[in-house]
């Protein structure tokens, strides 16, 4: 089992531009994206009196998905609270014959935002494809009081006990 404390520092949003979230080659600056979204989600959790939120994910046999999202203290209404996060999206510009990738504001429920940031952390921390083979899973916990985000990831590994017997 692997545990990873991101200890992500809050971004200075005043300095954020489109380029903050995109690399020169058009790929995503996931660290910047997660930092931004962490700040937005933390603020939303705080304003709803939530002390921590956990998003779990698991999968095997090529099928994986984010499962339960829980908050503490229990507060179903908080999960429906709207929060604006940055999401990366692309469209193909046929006239220019190139993909236009943008980081744009998405107004999501807190539950969906937590799921999406979980996906971003899975990719950022190199666990994409965890659902292949024997699978894996983990959780992402937002600790409001300590302002930390922790991803606890595991990969399942088949263990064989091998014996040879000869007569």
């Amino acid at each position: 089992m692997e545990s990873m404390d991101q200890n992500l520092a809050d971004p200075d949003e005043s300095n954020e531009t489109e380029q903050t979230f995109l690399q020169e080659d058009g790929s995503t600056n996931l660290q910047a994206l997660v930092l931004h979204n962490k700040a937005a989600i933390m603020a939303a959790l705080k304003s709803n009196g939530v002390t921590n939120a956990t998003s779990e994910y698991s999968g095997s046999g090529d099928e994986g998905s984010t499962g339960s999202v829980t908050v503490h203290p229990e507060n179903t209404a908080a999960l429906e609270y709207n929060v604006t996060v940055k999401m990366i999206g692309s469209t193909f510009d046929s006239s220019a014959e190139k993909w236009i990738t943008k980081a744009s504001d998405s107004n999501l429920t807190l539950e969906q935002a937590l799921r999406d940031v979980t996906d971003q952390l899975i990719e950022m921390n190199g666990h994409a494809g965890y659902e292949d083979g024997d699978g894996g899973g983990g959780s992402v916990t937002f600790d409001v009081e300590n302002d930390t985000v922790e991803q606890d990831h595991y990969d399942c590994v088949v263990e064989n006990v091998h014996s040879v017997h000869e007569l």
């Binding site: 790929s27 999968g59 099928e63 984010t66 993909w99 494809g129 292949d132 083979g133």
Partner: protein, 262 residues
């Protein structure tokens, strides 16, 4: 070029690029293909004439994303596979829990039709959700919904034998049912390892049938479906010659993590 004449062309599944967004993975596949760099040791050049959109790709596969993919790569015939992310909330939708995820299947069917996909294939799913017969019936209902052939992909033995279609006997039942299917040869490598026997005649029969919509290939050590790139010829390699000419073969080997088999 393929390894040998007579052997089918191998196409790319975007499972080769797990964790990338749909459009990023498609772009990687098409760009490297155009440069002649989309290759695997065992199969040579990999084709992008058919591309499979998969659950391992991140981001929402929306109608607008579908349109963008088709505009960007008009030479590519896209199709959906398994529980690709067509709704904001990712689902474990498979043929065993077809009714529980009716909204997901409805959206997947819309997108499949938008792509004019010739087929859709899904995992069989878990025993706790359906019997084998019920799951096969769901596959027939899914075909009505999608308006194209829908195939069931067999699985392999896991702890507790929770997955439907995990034995040679169940593969035979699928074949005899007349329901279309996808054969994942790497799954059969696990069935072989766990059962201790090969059923070459059944495999050849299934591969050569018109009911075989897709064949999936990748490498593993027989213990788990690790989606490795085939760097040497597995036992099933000669059987590729038996694949029906209408069947599309996809490689699911992970091109981002070309791990050696231990």
């Amino acid at each position: 070029m393929n390894c040998d004449a007579g052997r089918p062309e191998i196409h790319i599944s975007l499972a080769a690029f797990p964790g990338m967004r749909h459009e990023q993975a498609a772009q990687r596949a098409v760009t490297t293909s155009r440069l002649g760099l989309l290759q695997e040791t065992c199969f040579g050049n990999i084709s992008v004439a058919h591309v499979q959109l998969v659950p391992q790709s991140f981001g929402l596969l929306s109608e607008s994303m579908a349109d963008s993919l088709m505009a960007a790569y008009p030479e590519v015939q896209f199709r959906l596979h398994a529980n690709v992310r067509v709704l904001p909330s990712h689902r474990i939708a498979d043929l065993a829990n077809f009714d529980a995820h009716a909204d997901w299947f409805g959206q997947a069917a819309k997108l499949s039709q938008r792509f004019r996909a010739p087929a859709y294939t899904a995992h069989s799913g878990y025993r706790e959700h359906a019997t084998l017969e019920k799951m096969l019936e769901n596959a027939r209902r899914a075909a009505d919904l999608f308006g194209c052939p829908v195939g069931v992909e067999g699985q392999y033995p896991v702890k507790g034998d929770t997955l439907l279609i995990s034995s040679w006997e169940e593969y035979r039942k699928v074949f005899d049912s007349g329901v279309p299917y996808a054969i994942d040869l790497s799954h059969l490598n696990i069935v072989l390892t766990k059962s201790g026997r090969r059923e070459d005649n059944l495999v050849k029969e299934m591969l050569s049938s018109e009911l075989c919509l897709e064949v999936h290939v990748s490498a593993n050590d027989g213990r788990g479906d690790s989606h490795q790139v085939c760097d040497s010829q597995p036992w099933w390699f000669p059987m590729l010659n038996f694949i029906n000419e209408k069947t599309i073969v996809f490689t699911e080997g992970n091109h981002l993590r070309k791990k050696e088999i231990a």
